[in-house]
């Protein structure tokens, strides 16, 4: 009996695919073990478990109306990140007009289920007709955007799609104000309805979005493991080699565009029906950055990464940042965890954290000895930290602004230093960060949120380009 050599995969198995799975690098230590264990369970059971958790959270724990809204927002963002992952993560096309497809879906749904067209009655299609229609429309639109720009690479594609996204906002603002409503948008939309079912409660929308997320993940997983998915990755890695291997590069790129657009339009339709209104500003650049932050943080190219990144970014920024106390927990938690991961060995870590605490008390004592106004605190949200540790002067705005600029300079300087100087500089940087946070950032959550989004993109790309969950692929040279 012939013994098959161990290093060749079984008959009928694509060797390149088998090898590419092996090339994946696991995380070090126990996290790698968790990863391996999760992979042994298999993909479909894992999806089932995740969906079950999603169903049980509102049932068992019970969410209040604010938490349900946060859940809806984060599920929307997860779906959007999932769709963006197709073009950015898998096919490697930087699509900066993605938000326009989301807007197209929302506006399409709005027109089909309001009194805008054919007044006074308007048209009120059921959701099972209007949502598929806007999805097909968005897919065609995706092809229309992708078709002329299929030969553009990288930056050119990025700028053309960004123009497309900006043009969408201009279009909805200025063109056909009777139908599209101009800057005032369209309101009084129907909720999702059809076949004698009407979804009006937030919890209902939560389940709808959860179901859509799970279905999209299932469909995309099947696509990912099909010829199409492999073709996308081949085109991402090397279009020239892919075309030499008879992959129709242009068609494959267009498919990525169209599928991403369809998912975005689906999310847009549900968003419009849940909000019962659409406005041009809903589909502007800040939301695009939010989607990108979710995708990049989770790890572009990994589907679970995109979903979890979307959920985490949305939950942290929309859910916790509203309340100063909770935002504080997250802020200090992230700092401590980052230090835990980045500063080694343990003695150094202890020295940095302990040093920061002691440094804070010393500075606070010195400053309060000189002037009581300088530590007069913020009358709005006075916590123990404000009172005894961080400096929050009577005029926190000016102090916070200057402190923020100095903090940015310190962070840039940290990136340039090495060794002991770096360790020493971390202490005042952390302390200043906490002062600026307490004095200024926590009082303006709307702006803090945007600043954090920008920071997430920069820091993730520099420190961990594969995202929090994505596994690094070993480069083949």
């Amino acid at each position: 009996m012939a013994v098959e050599p161990k290093d060749s995969p079984g008959v009928g198995v694509d060797e390149w695919v088998a090898r590419s799975v092996e090339r994946k690098e696991y995380l070090p230590g126990w996290r790698g073990d968790v990863q391996r264990a999760a992979e042994r369970v298999g993909w479909w059971p894992r999806l089932g478990i995740a969906a079950a958790i999603g169903v049980f959270i509102p049932l068992v724990i019970g969410l209040n109306s604010f938490q349900t809204q946060v859940g809806i927002d984060s599920l929307l963002l997860a779906i959007l990140a999932l769709g963006l992952n197709v073009s950015v993560g898998w096919a490697g096309l930087l699509d900066l007009g993605y938000i326009a497809f989301y807007g197209f879906g929302a506006y399409g749904f709005a027109i089909l289920s309001s009194s805008q067209l054919n007044p006074p009655g308007g048209i009120h299609w059921p959701a099972y007709a209007s949502i598929p229609l806007v999805m097909i429309g968005a897919g065609v639109l995706g092809l229309c955007v992708g078709w002329p720009s299929r030969r553009l690479i990288g930056d050119y594609l990025a700028i053309v799609t960004l123009f497309f996204g900006e043009a969408f906002v201009e279009f909805t603002n200025n063109v056909a104000p009777k139908t599209l409503g101009g800057p005032n948008g369209i309101f009084a939309l129907d909720p999702l309805h059809g076949a004698h079912v009407q979804i009006t409660t937030p919890t209902g929308y939560f389940y709808v979005l959860l179901a859509l997320l799970v279905i999209s993940m299932a469909v995309l997983h099947m696509l990912d493991t099909s010829r199409m998915g492999r073709a996308w990755r081949a085109v991402r890695e090397d279009p020239l080699a892919a075309s030499a291997m008879t992959i129709p590069v242009n068609r494959v790129k267009l498919m990525a565009f169209a599928i991403g657009a369809m998912i975005a339009a689906m999310a847009g339709a549900v968003f419009a029906s849940q909000q019962t209104s659409v406005f041009p500003t809903d589909f502007d650049t800040p939301y695009l950055i939010l989607i990108y932050a979710g995708l990049i943080l989770g790890g572009a190219g990994s589907m679970s990464g995109a979903v979890i990144g979307g959920l985490v970014v949305s939950i942290i920024l929309d859910g916790f940042l509203r309340s100063p106390t909770q935002a504080g927990y997250i802020f200090y938690g992230v700092i401590v965890v980052t230090m835990l991961i980045k500063v080694r060995p343990w003695a150094k870590l202890g020295a940095v954290l302990g040093g920061t605490v002691v440094f804070g008390f010393i500075v606070h004592a010195i400053v309060s000895a000189f002037s009581s106004r300088a530590v007069a605190g913020n009358p709005g949200s006075t916590t123990w930290i404000d009172l005894h540790w961080a400096i929050v002067p009577a005029n926190p705005v000016l102090f916070g602004n200057i402190g923020f600029v100095v903090l940015l300079c310190l962070v840039v300087a940290l990136g340039q230093l090495k060794g002991n100087w770096r360790t020493i500089l971390i202490v005042p940087t952390l302390y200043l960060a906490s002062c600026v946070w307490e004095a200024r950032l926590v009082t303006v959550p709307a702006i803090t949120r945007l600043i954090l989004l920008g920071a997430i993109l920069i820091v993730t790309m520099n420190a961990r380009p594969q995202g929090l969950l994505g596994a690094r692929r070993v480069e083949i040279v």
Binding site: I159, F163, N174, Y292, V412, I447
Partner: protein
């Protein structure tokens, strides 16, 4: 005819700004092959620096020293400050990603742009700030040719942008630094092997490009008065396209593209409709980018394998 010339002058003013910002894009793209989305926001920062220099000298209505010196100080401060900011951004955000896949620095640039916009929002608020130029350069200081009125500030913007571009062209063609920049743009590895300090060259490129954007920001404040934290984003997009229209990497090309886009925009505003200006310009630019991505003066570049 009067209206035609008037719109032409307006277009040249706007076009000069596009051209200056486009130059920075083009230079950075030349050496790093990076589309620096933050470049438009550097222009915005320049406008803000100029504004605060103006306030520091007593504000538009009560200047402590003669007007030309104030304007010179504004240009110097904005050019130097924004140049330094550009160098810092390159060191901190882009340098670690120099050998990463192309998509990584692009996303980082998007993040830098967003961070800059919102830092300014945090520091100075969302309200518009007003240069109030007519208080120290009155509208009466204008040249009348026939029925056309050309304001002194418009002449200054047009002339200064042409002079700066000519100077930059000379720098790139004639000086040692310019030669190094061209070498790095052609082939970074080969340039490094020949002993060119690539890091220094890239930093210098960022400084020059960013300084031009900062100066353009001050000019925009002087010419259009209103400055706010989002003024740079769309302008940056258009300026990049101006660089592409002229042929990316080419200095006369960036100049030509900038003026063309500025004039096109002014004519659309003047003759068609101001509501649809952006929409039409975006449409033209998308079509141009798709049909002729090498630009008017650019050469077809073969992709290296």
């Amino acid at each position: 005819m009067t209206k035609f010339i008037q719109e032409l002058v307006n277009g040249l003013t706007q076009g000069g700004l596009y051209a200056l910002v486009a130059l920075g894009y083009s230079m950075v793209y030349g050496v790093l092959k990076l589309l620096n989305f933050a470049h438009g926001d550097l222009y915005m920062v320049g406008a803000f620096i100029g504004y605060f220099v103006l306030q520091w000298f007593g504000g538009p209505t009560a200047l402590a020293i003669p007007v030309p010196f104030v304007i010179l100080a504004m240009f110097l401060a904005a050019g130097g400050g924004v140049g330094a900011l550009g160098v810092a951004i390159e060191r901190f955000a882009y340098r670690p990603l120099r050998d990463a896949p192309r998509i990584a620095p692009l996303i980082t640039a998007l993040g830098v742009s967003f961070l800059l916009e919102n830092t300014v929002l945090l520091l100075f608020g969302a309200s518009y700030r007003d240069y109030n130029t007519s208080a120290f350069i009155p509208y009466s200081t204008e040249i009348r040719i026939g029925g056309v009125n050309i304001w002194l500030v418009q002449i200054m913007v047009i002339v200064l942008s042409v002079v700066l571009m000519f100077g930059l062209q000379q720098l790139v063609v004639r000086t040692q630094l310019g030669r190094q920049m061209r070498a790095v743009a052609t082939d970074r590895e080969a340039a490094e092997m020949l002993g060119i300090n690539v890091d220094y060259t890239i930093s210098a490129t960022f400084f020059l490009g960013s300084a031009l954007a900062g100066i353009a920001g001050v000019m925009a404040g002087l010419a259009f008065n209103e400055i706010y934290q989002l003024m740079g984003f769309i302008l940056g997009l258009k300026a990049f396209t101006a660089a592409v229209v002229g042929g990316i990497g080419s200095i006369p090309g960036a100049m030509l593209g900038g003026f063309l886009i500025g004039i096109a925009e002014a004519f659309i505003t003047g003759y068609i409709s101001s509501t649809f200006t952006n929409l039409i310009v975006f449409g033209i630019l998308i079509v141009f980018m798709i049909l002729r991505p090498t630009g008017l003066l650019g050469r077809v570049q073969l992709q290296k394998v």
